[in-house]
């Protein structure tokens, strides 16, 4: 039975698992279409992207997490002029700048799609990685430093501290803005 109208049989079933917690949304075609969440393809199958867009829209998490200002003035991408609402509707970005333009709104969406994760931990582009490689190295060294201090290995800790300082200076020179922590 459709969760929205409680009248028609549900035809759209969305299952999502986040951190082992399963959530399900069941809607009839009419309610799904009313919400702009899904439409039929030529072959009669529901479009995945519209289902995704629907998932982003119906989610109470999303509604709570959108900052107040996005309701007062629509957020628009500086690159392709796609609005955040348009993105929610089609479930796809228009250009790389959308990520920058919607940066504030994205974490709850990404959390929902990627098991609670919002920050990239994988590969960096070799040539373009620039200061990001160094920043990652600093993070690693900081954790090594903490461990060495706890083990009272102060001589080695001093060496690591110097490595961190020189890397941070290099990052500042490159204009990457070292993290102050």
């Amino acid at each position: 039975m459709c969760e929205q109208c409680q009248e028609r049989p549900a035809a759209v079933h969305l299952k999502n698992v986040v951190n082992g917690k399963k959530t399900e949304v069941h809607l009839c075609e009419v309610c799904a279409q009313d919400k702009g969440e899904a439409f039929m393809n030529d072959d009669g199958a529901f479009s995945f992207n519209h289902l995704l867009a629907g998932l982003l829209n119906v989610s109470p998490v999303m509604k709570q997490s959108q900052p107040q200002k996005s309701r007062r003035q629509p957020v628009e991408c500086s690159g392709c002029q796609m609005t955040f609402d348009q993105f929610l509707k089609i479930g796809k970005f228009g250009c790389p700048k959308c990520y920058e333009s919607f940066r504030e709104q994205l974490p709850p969406i990404l959390k929902r799609l990627h098991s609670g994760n919002t920050v990239h931990q994988g590969k960096l582009p070799e040539r373009q990685g620039g200061t990001i490689h160094m920043k990652r190295k600093v993070t690693e060294l900081r954790s090594d430093l903490k461990a060495l201090i706890e083990q009272e290995e102060f001589e080695q800790a001093a060496e690591i501290r110097d490595q961190i300082r020189s890397l941070e200076a290099e990052i500042r020179d490159e204009g990457g803005g070292a993290d102050e922590s």
Binding site: M82, G91, N117, P125
Partner: protein, 359 residues
Amino acid sequence: MSLEKFLSQAVSSWMNEDGPSSEIVLSTRIRLARNHHQYAFPTVFTKEEAQQTAEAVGAAVRQAGYPLEELKMEDLQGLEKRVLVEKHLISPNLAEDSGSSSVWLSDDEDISLMVNEEDHLRIQCLFPGLQLKEALRKALEIDDAIEQHFDYAFDENFGYLTTCPTNVGTGLRASVMMHLPGLMMTHQMNRIIPAIGQFGLVARGIYGEGSEALGNIFQISNQTTLGKSEEDITEDLLHVVDQIIAQEKSAREALVKSSGIQLEDRVFRSYGTLRYSRVIESKEAAKCLSDVRLGIDLGFIENVSRSILNELMILTQPGFLQQYAGGFLRPVERDIRRASLIRERLEMDVSKDKGGSDI
């Protein structure tokens, strides 16, 4: 054209090798989604931008030094595109588009670079059997080589920027195609599929989202692309796949032990159907091929090569049937052609074995 000659041209050469765990795992696929930082995504890009993106990818591929051949979608006939889709070398999405979309293929067809599909570039590597680490290594190597000549859209926090937020971060989709008749016959897949979800993975039937598992073939792949390294994603998938392999083996052993003769009967009835039927629908063909493949794995059938399932699952698709027939076929004609193609293919193995024919 003789079937033998057609086969040698139709089936990707990477499929002819038996990979590790090939009694259960048919193939491994790694896909990386990448975009150029300067151009709009295919969702909204202009014709001109599509052209510029295609040229930028083309230049990078040539400079990277990989001997790949480009096939432009606008130069291909509908049937040719359909065959490429059935071989999993391009996606249905790419086939539908004619604009500035293309695919770059290696000679063995184990590398496929899709241009202007949902993303500007999709690097795809295909390996026989279970070879996740090897396929990942190859895909990342191609990725590095292309990045030397192509400015990727990348963000320190979000990683590789993709058209769809479901791919952002690593842009990695690692998939393993598994043949799981034992788990299906013992009704365990219903339990396994939800369990897989808890690891950020998903199991689908062979023909993508929401489709039934034709021929007991499932594609297990990662859903999470952000917040884990490429190695961790493939490691987690491998861990789950290893578990599924172990459970499939146990299920097969239990079936042989508890109802060996019934299982053997089922296998040979299916073999009989494939060898002698004159009209066969795709669903029945898939079911019988799965049984025969299981019969080969269990040693009931000895004179048929193991690659038969991969091969015939592809060859009995509508595009291939029509290509082999040399033109358009109505559904009923396809069923007749499918039956005759399967009979011919099985005859090839039997003739090699016995030096004769009984069909």
